[in-house]
C-alpha cells in the first residue's frame, strides 16, 4: 500500500515538473491536466513533506527545492528509460515501459544507464533529460560505449546514436544532410574544421556540432558509407542488449 501511495505522489510531482517546463504554475492547470488522477489529499501530503508550496490566494502551486530534486530523479529515470528502449532495445511502447521503470530503479542504475548511453541530453521526444551526478563528472568515461563523434579516430567510421542539437533549425538542417541516428559516418579531417563523409557527400562541421553528435564506439564497417537499417542489424541490437546487461551487472 505504501508503494501505491508513493507512485501517486510521484505522478503529481512529475506533473508539476512538466508544468514548470511549460511555465505554468496554476492549480487549475494541474487539475485540468491530471483529470481524474488528481487527488487533493496527496497534494496536502506532499505539502507536509515539504515537497511543494502552495499559495491558496492566487492558487499558485509549485515544487520546493526538495520536490524538484525528487522530480528531477523521476523525470531523469523516465526519459533515460525512453532513450534506452528507443536506441538500444529497438523501440516498443516507450511510454508504458518508461512509466513502470521510473518508480522502480535505483539512483545508481539510472546513472549506469546514463553513462552507458553517453549522457544523452534529450529523450526520443526531444524533451530535456535532467543532468545527473554522472553527467557532471567526466563525460569521457572509459566505459562509455557512446562517444562524441569528435573523439573517434581519423578515417574511422561510426554509427550515429543520437544528436543533441542547439536548436530545432539545426536538427532539420542536419537531417536534410542525412546526418541522423542510425547512419554511418566517417571522420575525414578534424583540423582546421571537422569533415565527415555521410551518405556519399562530404560535409564540413564546426567543433560544437560534432561534439553534440554521439556515435557508437568500435563500429567497424570500413568503406561502407551507405548502409541501411536492415534485418541483420536488428540481430546486432540483440547483441547490444547482452552487452548492456553485461556491463550493468559488471558494474554493480
Amino acid at each position: 500500500m505504501a508503494i501505491e501511495r508513493n507512485v501517486e505522489q510521484d505522478e503529481h510531482i512529475e506533473q508539476l515538473w512538466y508544468m514548470k517546463e511549460q511555465g505554468e504554475t496554476s492549480l487549475d492547470f494541474l487539475k485540468k491536466t491530471m483529470k481524474r488522477s488528481f487527488d487533493s489529499k496527496i497534494i496536502n501530503e506532499l505539502s507536509l513533506l515539504g515537497m511543494l508550496e502552495q499559495n491558496p490566494e492566487d492558487s499558485i502551486i509549485k515544487l520546493t527545492a526538495d520536490g524538484e530534486a525528487r522530480a528531477r530523479q523521476l523525470i531523469r529515470a523516465h526519459r533515460l528509460a525512453e532513450r534506452l528502449v528507443a536506441d538500444v532495445l529497438g523501440g516498443g511502447d516507450l511510454e508504458q515501459i518508461a512509466c513502470e521503470f521510473e518508480h522502480t530503479v535505483s539512483l545508481e542504475l539510472v546513472n549506469g544507464i546514463c553513462t552507458l548511453l553517453g549522457h544523452p541530453k534529450e529523450c526520443p521526444h526531444g524533451m530535456p533529460i535532467p543532468e545527473g551526478e554522472c553527467c557532471r563528472q567526466a563525460m569521457k568515461s572509459a566505459s562509455s560505449f557512446i562517444i562524441p563523434l569528435s573523439d573517434i579516430k581519423l578515417g574511422e567510421s561510426a554509427r550515429i546514436a543520437y544528436i543533441n542539437c542547439k536548436n530545432d533549425q539545426q536538427i532539420h538542417k542536419l537531417d536534410g544532410l542525412c546526418i541522423r541516428p542510425g547512419v554511418i559516418v566517417k571522420l575525414h579531417q578534424n583540423y582546421p574544421t571537422y569533415v565527415i563523409e555521410c551518405e556519399g557527400s562530404s560535409i564540413a562541421l564546426d567543433q560544437d556540432v560534432v561534439a553534440n553528435i554521439s556515435v557508437w564506439k568500435n563500429f567497424n564497417e570500413a568503406n561502407d558509407e551507405g548502409c541501411h537499417r536492415t534485418a541483420d542489424e536488428k540481430d546486432k541490437g540483440g547483441n547490444w542488449i547482452k552487452k548492456v546487461l553485461a556491463i550493468l551487472s559488471g558494474r554493480r
Binding site: E122, C123, P124, H125, G126, M127, K166, D168, Q169, Q170, I171, H172, K173, L174, D175, G176, L177, C178, R180, G182, H188, Q189, Y191, P192, T193, V195, E199, G200, S201, S202, I203, A204, L205, D206, D208, V209, N223, D224, G226, H228, R229
Partner: protein, 654 residues
C-alpha cells in the same frame, strides 16, 4: 545579374502561362537546367549557393507557354536562412503549377527528404535525376522507373552540364502530375495537423503543409501569414496553433524527422543499388588534400602561382597582340590625318577617348580580365572554392569570422556584389555585418586582382607580396576590431556540404568567360568612354589642374604619389578597372616608382567600393549603413595607404 537574355517572347493574349518552379537542395544543377530549358545563360558553378536570386523566364514548349523559375537552393521547407525564405514564400504565395525537383543523383538521400516535403504540397511534380554521370563513378545505380512507379511523378534522368536529357524534361513538364506519398506521422499528430488546417483561412493553399509548419513553430511561416492576411487574423491563427500545440506531447520535430527519414530509407532500399566497392580516384584524394591543413598550403600556393603566371604572361601576350593589330595602327593613322589639334587631343591625346577609353578597356583591361575570368571560372567549376573555405577556416576564425562567412569572403575575390548577396545566408546579424563590411573593404574583386597582379608583376614579385600582406593585414585588423565592437550572444554553427572536385569542362568555362567578358564590355565600355571624355573636359577647362593643386598635400605629402595620380582617383569613381588600367600605363611609362606603385594599388583596391557593391550592401543592410560603410572605407583607404607609404619609405634602404 550576369545573364544574357534571348529575344523576349511575347505571349498571345488569353493564353494561360503555367509556372514551373525549379526547386532543389544547393549545388544540384538547378541553374544549369534553367539555362537548358530557357536558352538563357546564367552563371553556373560547382559550389553551393551560386544562385542567390530567383530568376524567371518565359519559354515555349511545343505550343504551350511556361514561366520557368530558377531558385536558390532549399534544404527543406522548414526554413534555416533568408534566401530559403524567399523560395518557400514564392512556393506558398504563387502556388506554381509544376514543381520540377532537381536531384543530384549521386547524393540522392539528401534530396529525397525534400521530395517527401514537396509531395506533401500536392502540386504536380517532375523529378530530374541530374549528374547521372557521377553515379557510375560512385558505384550507385538508380532504378528511375521504379522511383517513378513508387512516388507516381515523372522521373527524368539528366546530365545537365552536357545538355543531356533536356528534351525529356520538356516532355515531362507536360505530363507533370501529383504524386502519392505513403508517409504518416502517426494518428495523434495527424489529427492535430488536420484540426489546425481546418482553422486556416479558406483561400490559403497548402493548408496541410502550412499547418504542420505552424506546429513545428517555424517563425517565418507566421510572418508569411501575417503579410498575407494582416496581423489580426495571423494572431487568431497563432492562438489556434498554440491551442493545438498544447495537446501534443514532447518534441514533434523528432517525430517528423524520424518518419521522413524512414520513408527515404524505404524508397532508397527499393530503387537504389550500391556497389560494395568503389575506386576512389585521383580527384577524391586531391579534394581531401586540398583542404588538409598541411597539404593544402602547397596546393593553394601552386594555384596562386598558376593565376599569377598566366595573368602576367598570357595576358601580356594578348596585350601585345591587341596593341600591334589595333592600338598602333589606329593611333598612327589618326596622327597622320590632318585634323585640328583639338580633335586629335580628344581622340588620342593623354586624356583622349580612344587612348584612355577604348584602348584602356580593350587593350589593357580586357586581356587581363579574360585570362583571370577563365582561371577563376576553372576554380569555380572545379569545386576548389568550398574546399579552400575549409582549409582557410581557422585563419578566419582567429579574427572572429565564422565558417559560414568564409565562403562569402572567398567569393568576394570573384565579384563583391555577388558575395555581398550571398552573405544573406548568414543568420546572425553580427556575422552578416562583419562579412558584408570585410567583403567591401580590402578584398580585391576578380577584375582588380587580375590587373593588380599585372601591375605588380612589372615592379617585382616582392611588391606583389607587400600589397597582399597589407590587404590581409587590413582585413584582419578590421575583422578583429569589428568583432570586439559588436556584441552578440549567438554564434552560428558551421555546417557546409563540400562538393567533390572535378576537372572543369573547358567548354563550360569558355562559355562562362565569354559571358562575363561580354557583360563587362556591355557594362563598362560606355563608362570607360564617358569617364575619359569627362576627364578630357576637366583638363581642357583647367578644373583638373585646380583639383590637383588642392589635393597636393594629401597625395604628394602624405601618400608620396605624383600629382597625376589624381586622374586615377577620378577614374576610380567611375570604374575601378579603368583606374587600374591607367596605373598600369603609368607604371609602364615609368612615372611611378616601386613604393608609389604599391601605394597606388593599395589605395585603389580599398577605396571606392563599386556602385553595384554599395547597392547590394544597401539591399542587405539598409541604405544608411551602406553609405556609412562606403564613407568609412573611402577615408580609411587614404589613411592606410599613407601609413604604408611612410612605413616603406622609412624602412627601405634607398
Amino acid at each position: 545579374m550576369e545573364s544574357n537574355q534571348p529575344p523576349i517572347l511575347t505571349v498571345p493574349e488569353a493564353t494561360k502561362v503555367k509556372k514551373v518552379a525549379i526547386i532543389g537542395i544547393p549545388n544540384t544543377g538547378k541553374t544549369q537546367i534553367f539555362n537548358n530549358l530557357t536558352g538563357e545563360y546564367n552563371i553556373v558553378a560547382n559550389y553551393p549557393g551560386t544562385t542567390v536570386e530567383m530568376r524567371r523566364s518565359l519559354t515555349r514548349i511545343k505550343d504551350k507557354y511556361y514561366e520557368i523559375i530558377d531558385t536558390p537552393g532549399l534544404h527543406c521547407l522548414y526554413i534555416h536562412s533568408e534566401e530559403e525564405i524567399a523560395v518557400r514564400d514564392m512556393i506558398l504565395a504563387e502556388a506554381p503549377d509544376v514543381i520540377l525537383q532537381c536531384i543530384d543523383a549521386s547524393q540522392y538521400k539528401q534530396s529525397l527528404l525534400l521530395t517527401a516535403e514537396l509531395l506533401e504540397l500536392e502540386t504536380p511534380m517532375v523529378i530530374v535525376l541530374n549528374s547521372m554521370d557521377e553515379t557510375a563513378r560512385k558505384g550507385i545505380w538508380i532504378d528511375s522507373e521504379a522511383l517513378e512507379r513508387i512516388i507516381g511523378v515523372p522521373v527524368v534522368e539528366s546530365i545537365a552540364s552536357r545538355g543531356l536529357g533536356k528534351e525529356k524534361i520538356k516532355e515531362a513538364i507536360g505530363h507533370a502530375r501529383k504524386g502519392s506519398l505513403d508517409l504518416k506521422y502517426g494518428l495523434a499528430i495527424e489529427k492535430c495537423i488536420i484540426a489546425l488546417a481546418a482553422e486556416l483561412p479558406f483561400d490559403l493553399e497548402f493548408k496541410y503543409k502550412i499547418a504542420s509548419l505552424l506546429l513545428l513553430t517555424d517563425p517565418f511561416v507566421e510572418k508569411f501569414l501575417e503579410k498575407r492576411f494582416g496581423s489580426p487574423r495571423a494572431a487568431l491563427i497563432r492562438q489556434e496553433t498554440n491551442k493545438v500545440r498544447r495537446q501534443m506531447k514532447g518534441n514533434i520535430h523528432q517525430v517528423f524527422i524520424e518518419r521522413r527519414s524512414r520513408w527515404v530509407d524505404q524508397i532508397s532500399a527499393a530503387v537504389i543499388k550500391k556497389q560494395k566497392m568503389t575506386y576512389q580516384g585521383f580527384s577524391y584524394h586531391f579534394t581531401r588534400a586540398s583542404r588538409d591543413p598541411v597539404l593544402g598550403i602547397p596546393i593553394f600556393l601552386a594555384f596562386m602561382a598558376v593565376v599569377y603566371l598566366s595573368v602576367v604572361y598570357v595576358s601580356g601576350a594578348l596585350d601585345k597582340f591587341i596593341d600591334f593589330f589595333l592600338v598602333f595602327p589606329v593611333t598612327s593613322l589618326i596622327s597622320k590625318l590632318t585634323l585640328p589639334p583639338f580633335w586629335k587631343d580628344l581622340l588620342i591625346g593623354d586624356y583622349g577617348i580612344l587612348t584612355l577609353g577604348l584602348f584602356n578597356a580593350i587593350g589593357t583591361v580586357l586581356p587581363i580580365l579574360s585570362v583571370f575570368f577563365f582561371i577563376f571560372g576553372c576554380f569555380e567549376d572545379s569545386g576548389y572554392i568550398t574546399n579552400f573555405t575549409v582549409f582557410s577556416k581557422r585563419i578566419f576564425a582567429k579574427i572572429g569570422i565564422p565558417g559560414n562567412a568564409v565562403t562569402s569572403l572567398v567569393l568576394g575575390f570573384g565579384c563583391k556584389t555577388m558575395a555581398t548577396l550571398s552573405a544573406r545566408s548568414l543568420t546572425i546579424p553580427k556575422e552578416k555585418f562583419i562579412a558584408v563590411f570585410l567583403i567591401a573593404f580590402a578584398i580585391p574583386c576578380s577584375a582588380q586582382l587580375g590587373i593588380s597582379m599585372a601591375i605588380l608583376a612589372k615592379v617585382g614579385i616582392s611588391a606583389f607580396l607587400i600589397v597582399f600582406a597589407m590587404l590581409g593585414f587590413c582585413e584582419m585588423g578590421a575583422g578583429i576590431i569589428l568583432n570586439k565592437m559588436i556584441k552578440s550572444k549567438e554564434a552560428s554553427s558551421f555546417i557546409q556540404v563540400i562538393p567533390p572536385m572535378r576537372f572543369p569542362s573547358l567548354k563550360a568555362v569558355f562559355r562562362k568567360t565569354y559571358h562575363r567578358v561580354a557583360d563587362f564590355l556591355q557594362e563598362a565600355l560606355p563608362i570607360f568612354l564617358l569617364s575619359a571624355a569627362g576627364l578630357f573636359a576637366f583638363q581642357k577647362t583647367g578644373l583638373l589642374n585646380l583639383i590637383k593643386q588642392l589635393l597636393t598635400p594629401l597625395i604628394v605629402g602624405w601618400m608620396g604619389l605624383p600629382k597625376d595620380i589624381v586622374d586615377v582617383f577620378l577614374l576610380a569613381f567611375a570604374r575601378r578597372e579603368a583606374a587600374a588600367g591607367l596605373i598600369l600605363k603609368m607604371v609602364n611609362a615609368g612615372s611611378l616608382n616601386y613604393v608609389q606603385s604599391i601605394v597606388a594599388v593599395v589605395v585603389t583596391t580599398i577605396s571606392f567600393p563599386c556602385v553595384a557593391n554599395v547597392t547590394a550592401i544597401g539591399r542587405e543592410m539598409g541604405f544608411k549603413t551602406a553609405m556609412a560603410m562606403a564613407a568609412l572605407i573611402f577615408i580609411s583607404s587614404f589613411i592606410l595607404a599613407g601609413a604604408l607609404n611612410w612605413l616603406l619609405v622609412l624602412t627601405m634602404p634607398h
